[in-house]
Symmetry: C2
Subunit: 387 residues, 2 copies
């Protein structure tokens, strides 16, 4: 039933074989928020820990925009290309999200290119990759596929849904769509809806890709891809993930492998070298069209205003317990936006805790090992489990 999906095989970790599971939906099954239907759909996911007999210890972690299902651990023990999962410090035996206690699930989002169906997947109607024929998907659509996966695993109620950035949007969407299935929700470094500034950065990233002639209207899978445009797009992203202070500390005005200015356009400054490196690295692992679709989904997301299509509920249930976390130096989704979220939830009678973590490393802080975040999550999950 799984569609054969090209580019999902594109290894992100050298020669390491990815070992995710896949869950598939039959053709034309999923009605998207846009009104389009999509199928067949494959969702790549990984699980960590063991599901209890009562199936009451499951935690769903939603990844950020360019993440994947590989939340923690290594696929092999002897291959140095095999990087640990993206939340290695948080998820594992005895860690903040303790896999000795919880059955942790992480699924690659719809529209991505890391095993789940997206614009680089084969369109069954043509036998060619979708490209821009892939329908627009929303955060709601992503959550819908996760819901089906959770149903498929036989889980009726999740201990918690946890996620940062675009993952945090999925958390919030879960809580309005399926509040009865979510005992606790932890949206981290996220927002109820993108500010004009956040949309602007995404739009610049999209324009950088679409300006690359190799993008070719999204139809590039049989030829060279828009690598240069995608690299520029990623550079834009990286600046938004850091902060003025983080960049001063990390790079300042230090020169890269030289004592003098080159008086040319090479990477004189370390920060230039860093951005170029991040750009090139990203091109090797991510699909440009997926960036377009996922950033668009994030821009469309709006927890308060019904989206114009009007299909999405906006009321939260009041049984879910919330822990909202922001970072003091996050200027993509600043603390004032987290506070707006807290107010919005409180106004609906929700049980909300809020914590702003002082950190100078910007939006990306939740991905950086930090014992404070680990303790926060451990304590919060303990509280939920005791109830």
């Amino acid at each position: 039933m799984n569609a054969v999906i090209d580019r999902q095989e594109k290894p992100s970790v050298g020669s390491v074989e990815k070992k995710y599971h896949t869950f598939a939906e039959p053709p034309d099954e999923l009605l998207l928020e846009s009104g389009a239907r999509l199928g067949p759909i494959t969702i790549a996911y990984e699980t960590f820990g063991s599901l209890s007999a009562k199936k009451d210890n499951a935690v769903l972690v939603a990844h950020a925009f360019s993440g994947d299902s590989h939340l923690a651990g290594r696929y092999t023990s002897d291959n140095e290309d095999d990087k640990p999962g993206w939340w290695e410090f948080m998820v594992g035996p005895g860690k903040g999200i303790d896999t000795d206690r919880y059955f942790v699930i992480c699924a690659n989002i719809l529209g991505s290119c890391m095993g789940s169906t997206g614009p680089s997947s084969l369109n069954p109607a043509t036998g060619q990759p979708y490209g821009l024929d892939f329908p627009m998907v929303t955060i709601g659509d992503m959550v819908e596929t996760q819901k089906r996966l959770i149903d498929h695993l036989g889980i009726e109620k999740l201990v918690a849904v946890i996620g940062g950035s675009v993952g945090g949007m999925q958390v919030l969407e879960w809580c309005v769509r399926y509040p009865q299935m979510v005992r606790a929700a932890v949206p981290v470094a996220t927002t109820m809806r993108h500010s004009a500034l956040a949309i602007a950065f995404n739009e610049i990233a999209r324009q950088a890709i679409m300006a690359d002639p190799n993008w070719n209207g999204g139809d590039y899978y049989n030829g060279p891809g828009p690598d240069l445009g995608l690299a520029v797009a990623r550079m834009v992203g990286h600046v938004t993930y850091l902060s003025d202070e983080a960049m001063r500390r990390k790079f300042g005005r230090r020169l890269q492998d030289k004592r003098d200015f080159s008086f040319g356009f090479g990477a004189d400054f370390q920060v230039e070298s860093y951005l170029r490196h991040q750009g090139s690295k990203f091109v090797r692992r991510f699909d440009a069209n997926s960036l377009l679709y996922i950033t668009r989904a994030a821009d469309y997301f709006d927890l308060i205003e019904r989206n114009p299509a009007g299909t999405r509920p906006t009321e939260h249930g009041t049984e879910t317990k919330y822990l909202v976390i922001s970072y003091s130096s996050d200027w993509l989704y600043p603390t004032y936006q987290a506070k707006e979220l807290v107010k919005h939830l409180k106004r609906q009678g929700c049980d909300v805790s809020f914590c702003e973590i002082e950190a100078d490393c910007g939006h990306d802080a939740f991905l950086i090992p930090d014992v404070r975040l680990e303790k926060l999550l451990r304590g919060f999950l303990n509280g939920i489990s005791r109830n």
Copy 2:
């Protein structure tokens, strides 16, 4: 003696003929900070008001990165394409910089494309536009050409040098190179040196241009230019010129000419439409290589650390009176950087006043009509003239 310069004729205001003066230096005259020699050099400039018999009422205004010599007024009275100068609200009879009292000079910077010699100018060695054969120029080199212009006009001492953003860097450079010629200095919305963040944004803009195949290593003057890359670069610039708050107020999440999402990649949001418009507009008036050179000059500028080439003085004279102005919502050159500048000047025994203007419109605030800035400059200049 003027070099024939292509693209400088590119009209920025429809069919309006530009009426700047030009001042030229002979070949090989100018020794650049990089060690290269450049010539012949043409500097386009405009003047406003009348030079007194004693030549003691001159004010030099330095423009920002994409500005030009057209500081104020219109070239014609009956052509609607003829936009007023870029600091129209500030410069004129009875205005903040009063042309009834002062003889105001504004020169297009070296490396630009608005009448002064830059990468789009003809290289006398080849008869073709320089492209990347144009030598790297610095803020110091720009000031050096302005100094020669001021000498040429027979002016020994300026009442003031005033400028915002990259113009402010020129102000500061004037004060270390020729302190005896500057009675007063007004650096506005500027910095002593770019932070890693500012360098990062410039680098992204440069990479966007260089990723455009039409850029062709800088050699595009006889074919299509890197218009798409330049448009993306300008979009990056515009985001840095605004602020989170300004963008929320100006655009929010409002849709552009539609009630519903398109579920496509068109400009659904007003902020997307605005950025695309700014990008396209810029392409019609600015040369991509000039953007590369001028952003690089701004990145290299460092008032404290001698630049690695070591040719630039860093000590200020103590006879110049300073008025340092910052804007509360400027996140390209935030107030903390203006305060660092004030400290630096005070440590050297300079007479410094400082004012942070509360404004939510970001870095670009100094270009937006504001009676507070006008009053500040009028009062400050009055004080200088009285002494």
